[in-house]
Symmetry: none
Subunit: 242 residues, 2 copies
DNA sequence: CGTTATATTTAGGCTAACCTAATATATAAA
DNA sequence: TTTATATATTAGGTTAGCCTAAATATAACG
């Protein structure tokens, strides 16, 4: 049933392109369209369409065009989701320009795992669109992570998940305060105006509202499986020396 | 001089492997070692060593082994840095297990840009080791973090970034003086002893040395190129629809 | 309907990065 | 030093994914 083929980057790329041309109106994608979209020659497209058809990922009628099958659509959607989330990440978090972020996203999308991308999505607050405005498909695996901006939470304990800001200095500042992912902080007072006072292990810090906005936190974690595993890491593995 | 070749993932991979076998002791890497490390056959290694040698990235003596040149080492270091930072990211932030994170990092490292990885490093608080414990090489591009304690700066204009103190009252005091994050102040005199005199928009304030210590400031920001560009982004580009 | 223009496929090549098998060199043992 | 073993290189082959040019199918037009 569910193909456990390992698809090549190129095969995924073609599926993604078909998905894109079909987006919304569900018409067939023509050879030329795809060639233009992918920056390859028509002949290369034909070749790949035959292969994808044999794998049951598209319905292909020679001289007529191609259309994703259920199976193909599932894969394409996943890839597109990764692409768009990665763009969000690269643009919003890393401050990469849109052209570069597209290029990088379109490579990383083929190697990043489903699990990693779901976490990333949570980190970003489950955005619904990519920087260009296109919709980001939902994940099929349910993964509730409760992430919000530090500037919006009420009193209590929170774990820092991520620093989001395109401004390097903001990040530097947060780092120099030790406010890095993994740290648990207590939010002390939250008057709707003025600085936010938070307490770390040994210090109190007042943060400007704007800065607090760039800190993504989740409620002090109950012991989750993922976290427990993470804490337990450490023992340098001889097998994967980095 | 500085090779503006675009290297393939594979070429980078070999450089990285040579780097790894050389790490610490600077001996040559043998064909067999590399083959084992990369999971390919000896013959494939020989082939690639010749190519890398021609590109001036390694010193290769047939039957003897290979060693990175200055140029090759620079590239290998960059790749390794990316690898290890990505592992940190995938393990710490995404909760991926070490084996998987190694595999993913080893692919992403070849496509993620220098700029993106530097931002990521900052996000993670500039970690010095990968999850396995190996050192993460420094970035060659300087990334200014310019935060210091008010008690230590010389005359000039500064912006208050944070109030840090173990004492809740200190923070309250500073807040009541209007010394909150975001405010720009001029430091007037800095005798090495005694109170510090600072000037805000409309007042002069004398601060005790100890209090000044809990104020983190950065130099009044000039408009940097990076910052300007970043602020300007935004307009969704029709060219790269995600 | 025939003719022309456009879109698509087929045929035949190329390159990077692998591989196996055969050969050559270097090192260790006798 | 000669021989045996381990290591490295060369020669020749395969595959995926691209290409160009030629052949063919479809669509558009008078
Ligand atoms: Mn892609
Ligand atoms: Mn893509
Ligand atoms: Mn790699
Ligand atoms: Mn690697």
């Amino acid at each position: 049933m569910s193909q456990k083929y390992e698809l090549s980057s190129s095969e995924e790329e073609y599926l993604e392109a078909i998905y894109t041309t079909q987006e919304g109106k569900a018409r067939v994608a023509t050879t030329r369209e795809l060639a233009a979209c992918l920056g390859v020659r028509d002949a290369s497209v034909t070749e790949m369409l035959k292969k994808l058809s044999e794998k049951g990922l598209i319905n292909y009628t020679p001289y007529r065009g191609a259309m994703l099958t259920e199976a193909g659509c599932k894969i394409a959607t996943k890839v597109k989701r990764k692409h768009r989330l990665l763009e969000r990440f690269l643009v919003d978090i890393c401050g990469i320009d849109t052209h570069e972020s597209h290029k990088q996203a379109c490579e990383i999308e083929h190697v990043i795992s489903d699990k990693a991308i779901d976490t990333l999505s949570a980190q970003l607050g489950h955005p619904s669109t990519c920087p260009g405005g296109s919709a980001i498909p939902e994940s099929d695996s349910e993964d509730e992570t409760d992430v919000s901006r530090l500037s919006e939470v009420k009193e209590g304990s929170y774990t820092i998940r991520f620093l989001t800001s395109a401004e390097p200095e903001t990040i530097s500042r947060l780092c120099s305060l030790g406010l890095i992912p993994g740290l648990t902080v207590r939010v002390q007072r939250t008057s709707s105006k003025g600085p936010l006072v938070i307490e770390t292990k040994d210090t109190q810090i007042a943060l400007g509202r704007d800065v607090a906005e760039s800190l993504l936190v989740s409620p002090e974690a109950m012991e989750t499986e993922g976290r427990r595993r993470r804490r337990r890491r450490g023992a340098p593995s001889a097998a994967t020396p980095g």
